[in-house]
Protein backbone atom coordinates (compact mmCIF):
# COMPACT_ATOMS: atom_id res chain seq x y z
CA UNK A 1 0.00 0.00 0.00
CA UNK A 2 1.65 3.24 -1.13
CA UNK A 3 0.40 6.65 -0.21
CA UNK A 4 -0.19 8.92 -3.20
CA UNK A 5 2.32 11.63 -3.93
CA UNK A 6 0.02 14.57 -3.16
CA UNK A 7 -0.42 13.07 0.29
CA UNK A 8 3.31 13.27 0.93
CA UNK A 9 3.46 16.81 -0.46
CA UNK A 10 0.66 17.92 1.85
CA UNK A 11 2.53 16.28 4.68
CA UNK A 12 5.40 18.74 4.34
CA UNK A 13 4.96 21.42 7.02
CA UNK A 14 5.40 24.59 4.88
CA UNK A 15 3.02 23.25 2.21
CA UNK A 16 0.37 22.32 4.74
CA UNK A 17 0.88 25.65 6.52
CA UNK A 18 0.19 27.59 3.32
CA UNK A 19 -2.73 25.32 2.38
CA UNK A 20 -4.32 25.75 5.83
CA UNK A 21 -3.73 29.50 5.80
CA UNK A 22 -5.60 29.79 2.50
CA UNK A 23 -8.59 27.67 3.61
CA UNK A 24 -8.93 28.86 7.21
CA UNK A 25 -10.74 32.18 6.56
CA UNK A 26 -13.18 30.47 4.18
CA UNK A 27 -14.03 27.83 6.77
CA UNK A 28 -14.58 30.41 9.50
CA UNK A 29 -16.49 32.74 7.17
CA UNK A 30 -18.87 30.12 5.79
CA UNK A 31 -19.39 28.69 9.27
CA UNK A 32 -20.33 32.14 10.57
CA UNK A 33 -22.74 32.78 7.68
CA UNK A 34 -24.47 29.43 8.15
CA UNK A 35 -24.62 29.90 11.92
CA UNK A 36 -26.28 33.32 11.49
CA UNK A 37 -28.96 31.73 9.28
CA UNK A 38 -29.29 28.68 11.53
CA UNK A 39 -29.62 30.73 14.71
CA UNK A 40 -32.15 33.13 13.18
CA UNK A 41 -34.23 30.32 11.67
CA UNK A 42 -33.91 28.17 14.77
CA UNK A 43 -34.60 30.79 17.41
CA UNK A 44 -37.06 33.04 15.56
CA UNK A 45 -38.63 31.38 12.51
CA UNK A 46 -39.14 27.80 13.73
CA UNK A 47 -42.41 27.28 15.61
CA UNK A 48 -42.39 25.91 19.18
CA UNK A 49 -42.60 22.13 19.56
CA UNK A 50 -46.03 20.65 20.34
CA UNK A 51 -44.76 19.03 23.56
CA UNK A 52 -41.56 20.79 24.59
CA UNK A 53 -42.58 24.35 23.74
CA UNK A 54 -39.64 26.67 23.20
CA UNK A 55 -37.19 24.56 25.21
CA UNK A 56 -36.68 22.38 22.13
CA UNK A 57 -34.56 25.21 20.62
CA UNK A 58 -31.60 23.89 22.63
CA UNK A 59 -31.46 21.17 19.94
CA UNK A 60 -29.75 23.67 17.60
CA UNK A 61 -26.59 23.70 19.70
CA UNK A 62 -26.89 20.31 21.39
CA UNK A 63 -27.30 18.02 18.38
CA UNK A 64 -24.65 19.57 16.07
CA UNK A 65 -22.19 19.54 18.99
CA UNK A 66 -23.06 15.89 19.72
CA UNK A 67 -22.50 14.90 16.10
CA UNK A 68 -19.15 16.71 16.11
CA UNK A 69 -18.08 15.11 19.39
CA UNK A 70 -18.24 11.75 17.58
CA UNK A 71 -17.00 12.91 14.16
CA UNK A 72 -13.88 14.59 15.58
CA UNK A 73 -12.92 11.41 17.43
CA UNK A 74 -13.28 9.33 14.26
CA UNK A 75 -11.13 11.89 12.44
CA UNK A 76 -8.50 11.61 15.20
CA UNK A 77 -8.57 7.81 14.99
CA UNK A 78 -7.97 7.87 11.23
CA UNK A 79 -5.13 10.38 11.62
CA UNK A 80 -3.68 8.30 14.47
CA UNK A 81 -3.75 5.19 12.29
CA UNK A 82 -1.81 6.98 9.53
CA UNK A 83 0.58 8.42 12.12
CA UNK A 84 1.31 5.07 13.73
CA UNK A 85 1.69 2.95 10.61
CA UNK A 86 3.50 5.38 8.29
CA UNK A 87 5.13 7.49 11.03
CA UNK A 88 3.75 10.59 9.38
CA UNK A 89 4.52 13.50 11.66
CA UNK A 90 1.77 15.79 10.34
CA UNK A 91 -0.89 13.13 11.05
CA UNK A 92 0.43 12.90 14.61
CA UNK A 93 0.13 16.68 14.92
CA UNK A 94 -3.44 16.60 13.58
CA UNK A 95 -4.50 14.10 16.25
CA UNK A 96 -3.36 16.50 18.95
CA UNK A 97 -4.65 19.71 17.35
CA UNK A 98 -8.12 18.19 16.77
CA UNK A 99 -8.48 17.00 20.36
CA UNK A 100 -9.20 20.35 22.11
CA UNK A 101 -12.01 21.24 19.68
CA UNK A 102 -13.45 17.74 20.03
CA UNK A 103 -13.34 18.07 23.80
CA UNK A 104 -15.03 21.48 23.52
CA UNK A 105 -17.89 20.03 21.45
CA UNK A 106 -18.27 17.14 23.90
CA UNK A 107 -18.43 19.55 26.83
CA UNK A 108 -21.08 21.62 25.00
CA UNK A 109 -23.07 18.43 24.34
CA UNK A 110 -22.99 17.39 27.99
CA UNK A 111 -23.84 20.80 29.42
CA UNK A 112 -26.60 21.78 26.97
CA UNK A 113 -28.12 18.30 27.25
CA UNK A 114 -28.16 18.66 31.00
CA UNK A 115 -29.81 22.09 30.74
CA UNK A 116 -32.50 20.62 28.45
CA UNK A 117 -32.94 17.55 30.64
CA UNK A 118 -33.74 19.52 33.79
CA UNK A 119 -37.15 20.87 32.66
CA UNK A 120 -38.01 18.07 30.18
CA UNK A 121 -36.86 14.84 31.81
CA UNK A 122 -36.91 16.23 35.32
CA UNK A 123 -33.21 15.70 36.05
CA UNK A 124 -29.85 17.31 35.30
CA UNK A 125 -28.14 13.97 34.95
CA UNK A 126 -28.93 10.29 34.79
CA UNK A 127 -26.58 7.33 34.40
CA UNK A 128 -28.28 6.47 31.15
CA UNK A 129 -26.11 4.58 28.62
CA UNK A 130 -26.05 7.48 26.13
CA UNK A 131 -25.13 10.07 28.74
CA UNK A 132 -22.56 7.82 30.37
CA UNK A 133 -20.82 6.89 27.11
CA UNK A 134 -20.70 10.55 26.09
CA UNK A 135 -19.03 11.35 29.42
CA UNK A 136 -16.52 8.56 28.73
CA UNK A 137 -15.89 10.19 25.35
CA UNK A 138 -15.09 13.48 27.12
CA UNK A 139 -12.56 11.71 29.36
CA UNK A 140 -11.02 10.02 26.32
CA UNK A 141 -10.42 13.44 24.76
CA UNK A 142 -8.85 14.67 27.99
CA UNK A 143 -6.80 11.47 28.09
CA UNK A 144 -5.40 12.03 24.61
CA UNK A 145 -4.47 15.62 25.49
CA UNK A 146 -2.91 14.64 28.83
CA UNK A 147 -1.04 11.61 27.52
CA UNK A 148 0.78 13.68 24.88
CA UNK A 149 2.32 15.76 27.67
CA UNK A 150 2.83 12.99 30.20
CA UNK A 151 6.08 11.59 28.83
CA UNK A 152 9.62 12.86 29.25
CA UNK A 153 10.25 11.98 25.63
CA UNK A 154 7.94 14.08 23.48
CA UNK A 155 7.73 11.60 20.61
CA UNK A 156 6.79 8.78 22.99
CA UNK A 157 4.01 10.87 24.52
CA UNK A 158 2.56 11.75 21.15
CA UNK A 159 2.66 8.11 20.07
CA UNK A 160 0.87 7.04 23.26
CA UNK A 161 -1.78 9.70 22.62
CA UNK A 162 -2.26 8.37 19.07
CA UNK A 163 -2.69 4.86 20.41
CA UNK A 164 -5.35 6.02 22.86
CA UNK A 165 -7.18 7.91 20.06
CA UNK A 166 -7.15 4.75 17.98
CA UNK A 167 -8.30 2.37 20.70
CA UNK A 168 -10.77 4.85 22.19
CA UNK A 169 -12.69 5.05 18.93
CA UNK A 170 -14.53 1.84 19.92
CA UNK A 171 -16.52 4.08 22.27
CA UNK A 172 -17.96 6.08 19.34
CA UNK A 173 -20.34 3.36 18.09
CA UNK A 174 -21.35 2.78 21.71
CA UNK A 175 -22.34 6.46 22.00
CA UNK A 176 -24.17 6.34 18.70
CA UNK A 177 -26.08 3.08 19.22
CA UNK A 178 -26.63 3.44 22.98
CA UNK A 179 -30.20 4.62 22.37
CA UNK A 180 -30.93 1.69 20.05
CA UNK A 181 -29.27 -1.09 22.03
CA UNK A 182 -30.70 -0.15 25.40
CA UNK A 183 -34.15 1.06 26.22
CA UNK A 184 -33.32 4.03 28.37
CA UNK A 185 -33.95 7.67 29.11
CA UNK A 186 -32.39 9.36 26.09
CA UNK A 187 -34.61 9.43 23.00
CA UNK A 188 -33.68 7.73 19.75
CA UNK A 189 -32.26 9.48 16.70
CA UNK A 190 -34.57 12.14 15.24
CA UNK A 191 -32.67 12.83 12.05
CA UNK A 192 -31.97 9.71 10.03
CA UNK A 193 -29.67 9.33 7.08
CA UNK A 194 -31.99 6.69 5.60
CA UNK A 195 -35.73 6.77 6.04
CA UNK A 196 -37.94 9.54 7.22
CA UNK A 197 -36.86 11.94 9.94
CA UNK A 198 -39.40 12.58 12.64
CA UNK A 199 -38.91 16.33 12.63
CA UNK A 200 -40.87 18.96 10.74
CA UNK A 201 -38.96 20.63 7.84
CA UNK A 202 -39.35 24.10 9.42
CA UNK A 203 -37.37 22.78 12.40
CA UNK A 204 -35.02 20.56 10.40
CA UNK A 205 -33.43 23.15 8.07
CA UNK A 206 -31.92 25.31 10.81
CA UNK A 207 -30.56 22.13 12.41
CA UNK A 208 -28.83 21.05 9.20
CA UNK A 209 -27.42 24.56 8.73
CA UNK A 210 -25.98 24.47 12.25
CA UNK A 211 -24.59 20.99 11.63
CA UNK A 212 -22.70 22.10 8.51
CA UNK A 213 -21.57 25.26 10.32
CA UNK A 214 -20.11 23.19 13.15
CA UNK A 215 -18.17 21.03 10.67
CA UNK A 216 -16.72 24.10 8.93
CA UNK A 217 -15.89 25.65 12.27
CA UNK A 218 -14.00 22.50 13.25
CA UNK A 219 -12.01 22.63 9.98
CA UNK A 220 -11.13 26.30 10.58
CA UNK A 221 -10.17 25.68 14.18
CA UNK A 222 -8.11 22.63 13.20
CA UNK A 223 -6.20 24.65 10.59
CA UNK A 224 -5.53 27.48 13.04
CA UNK A 225 -4.26 25.14 15.76
CA UNK A 226 -2.20 23.02 13.39
CA UNK A 227 -0.48 26.10 11.92
CA UNK A 228 0.63 27.25 15.35
CA UNK A 229 1.74 23.72 16.21
CA UNK A 230 3.82 23.54 13.02
CA UNK A 231 5.48 26.88 13.80
CA UNK A 232 6.40 25.51 17.21
CA UNK A 233 7.70 22.18 15.92
CA UNK A 234 9.71 23.68 13.11
CA UNK A 235 11.00 26.60 15.17
CA UNK A 236 14.34 27.79 13.86
CA UNK A 237 13.77 26.81 10.24
CA UNK A 238 13.80 29.53 7.62
CA UNK A 239 10.11 29.41 6.69
CA UNK A 240 9.03 29.72 10.32
CA UNK A 241 11.28 32.73 10.84
CA UNK A 242 9.80 34.40 7.76
CA UNK A 243 6.29 33.64 8.96
CA UNK A 244 6.87 35.01 12.47
CA UNK A 245 8.43 38.21 11.19
CA UNK A 246 5.50 39.02 8.92
CA UNK A 247 3.33 41.32 10.99
CA UNK A 248 -0.41 41.13 11.56
CA UNK A 249 -0.71 37.84 9.78
CA UNK A 250 -2.85 35.44 11.80
Amino acid sequence: MKLPLWFHRLGSPPTFYAFAARLQPWCYGLAAALAVYGLYAGLVLAPPDYQQGDSFRIIYVHVPAAWMSMAVFVFMAVAAFVALVWRMKLAETLVLTAAPTGAAFTLITLVTGSIWGRPMWGTWWDWDPRLTSELVLFFLYLGVIALAQAFEDRRAGRRAACLLALVGVVNVPVVHFAVTWWNSLHQGPTVRMFGESSIHPSMLWPLLAMAVASKLYFAGSLFARTRVALLEQEAGSAWVRRELEARGHV
Partner: protein, 150 residues
Protein backbone atom coordinates in the same frame (compact mmCIF):
# COMPACT_ATOMS: atom_id res chain seq x y z
CA UNK B 1 5.07 -0.37 1.94
CA UNK B 2 8.19 -1.41 3.76
CA UNK B 3 8.27 -4.61 5.88
CA UNK B 4 8.57 -2.43 8.97
CA UNK B 5 5.40 -0.54 8.09
CA UNK B 6 3.63 -3.82 7.33
CA UNK B 7 4.52 -5.12 10.77
CA UNK B 8 3.26 -1.93 12.40
CA UNK B 9 0.04 -2.12 10.37
CA UNK B 10 -0.52 -5.67 11.58
CA UNK B 11 0.29 -4.88 15.21
CA UNK B 12 -1.93 -1.81 15.33
CA UNK B 13 -4.80 -3.56 13.55
CA UNK B 14 -4.59 -6.36 16.11
CA UNK B 15 -4.68 -3.89 19.01
CA UNK B 16 -7.76 -2.14 17.62
CA UNK B 17 -9.43 -5.45 16.81
CA UNK B 18 -8.70 -6.69 20.33
CA UNK B 19 -10.09 -3.58 21.98
CA UNK B 20 -13.16 -3.72 19.77
CA UNK B 21 -13.82 -7.39 20.53
CA UNK B 22 -13.32 -6.86 24.26
CA UNK B 23 -15.77 -3.96 24.25
CA UNK B 24 -18.33 -5.88 22.22
CA UNK B 25 -18.11 -8.87 24.57
CA UNK B 26 -18.37 -6.65 27.64
CA UNK B 27 -21.43 -4.91 26.23
CA UNK B 28 -22.99 -8.23 25.29
CA UNK B 29 -22.46 -9.59 28.81
CA UNK B 30 -23.80 -6.38 30.33
CA UNK B 31 -26.99 -6.33 28.28
CA UNK B 32 -27.92 -9.76 29.68
CA UNK B 33 -27.25 -9.01 33.35
CA UNK B 34 -28.10 -5.39 33.87
CA UNK B 35 -31.50 -4.09 33.04
CA UNK B 36 -31.69 -0.34 32.84
CA UNK B 37 -35.41 -0.45 33.52
CA UNK B 38 -38.23 -2.89 34.17
CA UNK B 39 -41.59 -2.77 32.44
CA UNK B 40 -44.66 -3.77 34.50
CA UNK B 41 -44.57 -7.15 32.74
CA UNK B 42 -40.89 -7.62 33.63
CA UNK B 43 -41.63 -6.71 37.27
CA UNK B 44 -44.22 -9.51 37.39
CA UNK B 45 -42.16 -12.07 35.50
CA UNK B 46 -38.99 -11.48 37.48
CA UNK B 47 -40.88 -11.74 40.75
CA UNK B 48 -39.28 -8.66 42.29
CA UNK B 49 -39.63 -8.65 46.09
CA UNK B 50 -40.94 -5.71 48.16
CA UNK B 51 -38.09 -3.40 49.06
CA UNK B 52 -36.32 -4.00 45.77
CA UNK B 53 -34.91 -0.84 44.20
CA UNK B 54 -35.16 -0.52 40.43
CA UNK B 55 -36.35 1.70 37.61
CA UNK B 56 -39.88 1.20 36.41
CA UNK B 57 -40.58 2.24 32.83
CA UNK B 58 -43.76 2.53 30.85
CA UNK B 59 -46.51 4.80 29.64
CA UNK B 60 -48.69 6.80 32.02
CA UNK B 61 -52.11 5.17 31.70
CA UNK B 62 -54.80 7.54 30.46
CA UNK B 63 -57.09 8.89 33.21
CA UNK B 64 -55.00 7.29 35.96
CA UNK B 65 -53.40 10.43 37.41
CA UNK B 66 -54.76 11.24 40.90
CA UNK B 67 -53.52 14.37 42.66
CA UNK B 68 -53.63 13.55 46.36
CA UNK B 69 -53.05 17.01 47.75
CA UNK B 70 -49.76 18.86 48.05
CA UNK B 71 -47.16 17.33 45.81
CA UNK B 72 -48.51 13.82 46.29
CA UNK B 73 -49.60 12.07 43.14
CA UNK B 74 -50.63 8.55 42.22
CA UNK B 75 -50.72 7.14 38.72
CA UNK B 76 -50.53 3.88 36.82
CA UNK B 77 -47.72 2.85 34.49
CA UNK B 78 -48.58 0.45 31.70
CA UNK B 79 -46.75 -1.40 28.94
CA UNK B 80 -50.17 -2.08 27.34
CA UNK B 81 -50.04 -5.64 28.66
CA UNK B 82 -49.63 -5.24 32.40
CA UNK B 83 -50.01 -2.28 34.73
CA UNK B 84 -48.34 -1.09 37.91
CA UNK B 85 -49.47 1.49 40.46
CA UNK B 86 -46.99 4.26 41.34
CA UNK B 87 -46.94 6.75 44.19
CA UNK B 88 -44.76 9.85 44.07
CA UNK B 89 -44.31 12.99 46.12
CA UNK B 90 -42.43 15.78 44.38
CA UNK B 91 -42.24 17.99 41.34
CA UNK B 92 -43.06 16.26 38.07
CA UNK B 93 -41.16 17.10 34.87
CA UNK B 94 -42.83 19.33 32.29
CA UNK B 95 -43.28 16.46 29.85
CA UNK B 96 -45.19 14.35 32.39
CA UNK B 97 -48.69 13.73 31.06
CA UNK B 98 -51.09 10.94 30.13
CA UNK B 99 -49.81 8.71 27.38
CA UNK B 100 -46.22 9.89 27.98
CA UNK B 101 -43.36 7.45 28.55
CA UNK B 102 -41.88 7.82 32.03
CA UNK B 103 -39.10 6.24 34.07
CA UNK B 104 -39.66 6.09 37.82
CA UNK B 105 -36.75 5.50 40.22
CA UNK B 106 -37.75 3.98 43.53
CA UNK B 107 -38.65 0.79 45.40
CA UNK B 108 -41.48 -1.66 45.73
CA UNK B 109 -43.64 -1.20 48.86
CA UNK B 110 -45.14 -4.03 50.91
CA UNK B 111 -48.57 -3.35 49.38
CA UNK B 112 -47.16 -3.74 45.87
CA UNK B 113 -47.27 -0.02 45.03
CA UNK B 114 -44.05 1.34 43.52
CA UNK B 115 -42.93 4.30 45.62
CA UNK B 116 -40.90 6.60 43.41
CA UNK B 117 -38.38 9.12 44.69
CA UNK B 118 -37.75 10.42 41.19
CA UNK B 119 -39.95 10.46 38.11
CA UNK B 120 -38.34 11.19 34.74
CA UNK B 121 -40.30 11.83 31.56
CA UNK B 122 -38.92 10.15 28.48
CA UNK B 123 -39.17 12.19 25.34
CA UNK B 124 -39.83 10.56 21.98
CA UNK B 125 -37.83 11.62 18.93
CA UNK B 126 -40.69 13.56 17.31
CA UNK B 127 -40.32 17.32 16.81
CA UNK B 128 -43.44 18.95 15.38
CA UNK B 129 -45.17 22.32 15.51
CA UNK B 130 -48.45 22.19 17.42
CA UNK B 131 -50.63 22.97 14.39
CA UNK B 132 -49.06 20.14 12.37
CA UNK B 133 -49.55 17.64 15.19
CA UNK B 134 -53.20 18.72 15.64
CA UNK B 135 -53.84 18.37 11.91
CA UNK B 136 -52.24 14.93 11.89
CA UNK B 137 -54.43 13.81 14.79
CA UNK B 138 -57.57 15.15 13.13
CA UNK B 139 -56.63 13.29 9.95
CA UNK B 140 -56.17 10.08 11.93
CA UNK B 141 -59.67 10.55 13.29
CA UNK B 142 -58.99 9.65 16.90
CA UNK B 143 -57.62 11.68 19.75
CA UNK B 144 -55.20 9.07 21.02
CA UNK B 145 -51.64 10.27 21.17
CA UNK B 146 -49.11 8.08 19.38
CA UNK B 147 -47.16 7.25 22.50
CA UNK B 148 -44.95 4.24 22.06
CA UNK B 149 -45.40 1.39 24.49
CA UNK B 150 -42.23 -0.07 25.93
Amino acid sequence: MSPKQKRRLLAISLIVLGAGTATALALYALSGNVSYLYSPTAVRDEGLEPGARFRLGGVVLEESIQRQGGLKVGFTVTDRVNEHAVFYEGILPDLFREGQSVIAHGRLREDGVFEADKVLAKHDETYMPKEVMDAMERARGDGASPAKAY
